[in-house]
């Protein structure tokens, strides 16, 4: 019912919560919310809530990148967050979300992976970002990307003892994070474009294009989502909207 109403409103140029089409909901970002993690962030975007935690482990580098750290993003759509989420291994939506967040950070070279080497070719730092969905009220991806970036920005690398064991709670330096890529999902219903969908709006949109943008407007990752196609001629305006909005969202990240 609410979904049909949300759709009719969009088609008539309005939104279910009276926002402008290109307006985000109020965003609240808290840093260092998890004492047991090396870095963390809580993001509340409207009523959507997400926590990202970073754990730093000592691991072995990949064979083709012996002198770089390892980076990995996972997401859990926990059953507490939505009646649609079920327990069990990550489903395709959780896997897709994690991989989009991963690419936005990896491809932009946001973390200086070369500075995460402990013993070249043998021991490096592995950066694990885990995204936990607490409440799904739409636009999980943009909230998750903000949470992951904020968590990385406050991540500290633990000290190692003389035998190379990680000393939890004792820190050596900050994680070298040098960029702030921002992911903006541009949503489409017919010829209407809008941002930051609520859960109702999300269930009726035709398609969306999620775009990760750097400080200098370079685009570092992109993914089309949703069940319908996008007219080729509309792509440029969607890219423009994402570039413009990324500047505003970046100001929220300290």
């Amino acid at each position: 019912m609410m979904e049909t109403y949300a759709l009719e409103l969009i088609q008539s140029g309005k939104r279910i919560d009276k926002r402008e089409f290109l307006q985000f909901r109020n965003a609240e970002i808290k840093e260092n919310v998890i004492a047991t993690a090396e870095g963390s962030a809580y993001v509340k975007l409207g009523n959507t809530q997400v926590i990202a935690g970073v754990k730093m482990n000592v691991g072995t580098p990949f064979a083709d990148t012996p002198n770089e750290g390892v980076f990995s993003v996972s997401a859990e759509f926990t059953p507490l967050a939505s009646e649609e989420f079920e327990s069990g291994p990550p489903g395709e939506d959780a896997v897709e979300l994690a991989r989009i967040v991963d690419r936005g950070i990896r491809e932009s070279k946001t973390i200086e992976m070369g500075k995460l080497v402990i013993t070249p070719g043998e021991k490096v730092w592995s950066v694990f970002v885990d995204i936990h969905i607490i409440d799904n009220q739409g636009n999980l991806l943009n909230a998750a990307a903000l949470a992951a970036l904020t968590a990385l920005l406050n991540t500290r690398i633990p000290k190692l003892d003389t035998e190379g064991k990680v000393l939890r709670g004792d820190y050596e330096r900050k994680l070298p994070v040098v960029h702030k890529p921002i992911t903006v999902s541009v949503c489409k219903v017919g010829d209407k474009l809008f941002l930051d969908p609520t859960k109702e709006e999300e269930s009726v949109l035709d398609s969306k294009l999620s775009i990760a943008v750097m400080e200098d407007d370079t685009i570092c990752a992109m993914q089309k989502q949703g069940n319908k196609g996008i007219e080729f001629a509309m792509l440029e305006s969607m890219i423009d909207i994402a570039i413009e909005k990324s500047k505003e969202l970046r100001k929220l990240v300290k």
């Binding site: 897709e96 491809e107 992109m222 996008i230 890219i239």
Partner: protein, 240 residues
């Protein structure tokens, strides 16, 4: 087939496999090679080979997965363990889960599944030899397989990869180019409608470069579309 390399991938405008920047590899298409399936196709882009088959429309169980108003499309993208230089352990990984999803979303807009309430159309893509651009090769094959299974569609879906190597914008990345690219973009379109159904990009591009690549992708998808139509005609002309 494509490892990391420090050497130049494009010299004087010619790629390592002698191609021009906007040139695809040799493309081969064959429809109806798997008799056990309702529809099937094989598509090769150079050394990348994808097999696709379609089973259905067929009843969907368990029943709670059924949609009363429409049929559904399910897609599995899978790479054979022997398709890559270092054996890939069998079964789904995170990458193939995501590619299965985006492949489904790339093809769904082309189908009239409303005609088949409560049933499923199951599409399977097997990459038997991988040398870059496997997801787009799989989409080309699966769209042909769906057509040959007689699933009503508004258009074929045609797909290709584009990207940037050593500062040059190129079409149809092979494995070596993919692993060493500054950026790669996967695009699927319904070329006769100018509708984009798959768009994935990673790496760094300015907006201008991105728009240029999208233009190259559109042109290339148009060519692939003609080849797909010919592959279907080839198959069914023979049967009359």
């Amino acid at each position: 087939m494509g490892k990391k390399t420090d050497s130049e991938l494009i010299i004087d405008g010619i790629r390592l496999d002698k191609r021009l920047p906007d040139q695809t590899r040799e493309i081969k298409m064959k429809v109806g090679n798997i008799v056990s399936a309702n529809g099937s196709a094989e598509v090769a882009f150079g050394n990348t080979t994808a097999l696709a088959s379609v089973h259905g429309p067929r009843p969907l169980f368990p029943k709670h997965l059924q949609e009363s108003q429409t049929g559904i499309l399910r897609v599995r993208y899978n790479m054979a363990p022997f398709s890559v230089t270092d054996r890939k352990s069998p079964g789904p990984d995170r990458r193939s889960v995501e590619i299965s999803k985006v492949t489904r979303l790339a093809l769904e807009p082309s189908l009239f599944l409303d005609d088949y309430p409560k049933v499923t159309v199951d599409g399977f893509v097997e990459i038997i030899q991988a040398d870059g651009s496997t997801r787009v090769t799989g989409i080309n094959a699966l769209s042909l397989a769906l057509a040959s299974a007689g699933i009503p569609m508004t258009s074929l879906v045609s797909a290709c990869s584009v990207g940037k190597i050593n500062g040059t914008l190129i079409v149809d990345l092979n494995g070596m180019e993919d692993n060493n690219s500054e950026s790669d973009v996967a695009v699927a379109m319904m070329p006769d409608k100018d509708i984009v159904t798959l768009l994935q990009m990673d790496g760094m591009l300015t907006k201008e470069e991105l728009l240029h690549l999208l233009g190259l992708a559109k042109k290339t998808c148009g060519k692939i579309y003609e080849m797909q139509k010919n592959a279907l005609l080839e198959k069914y002309r023979g049967e009359e």
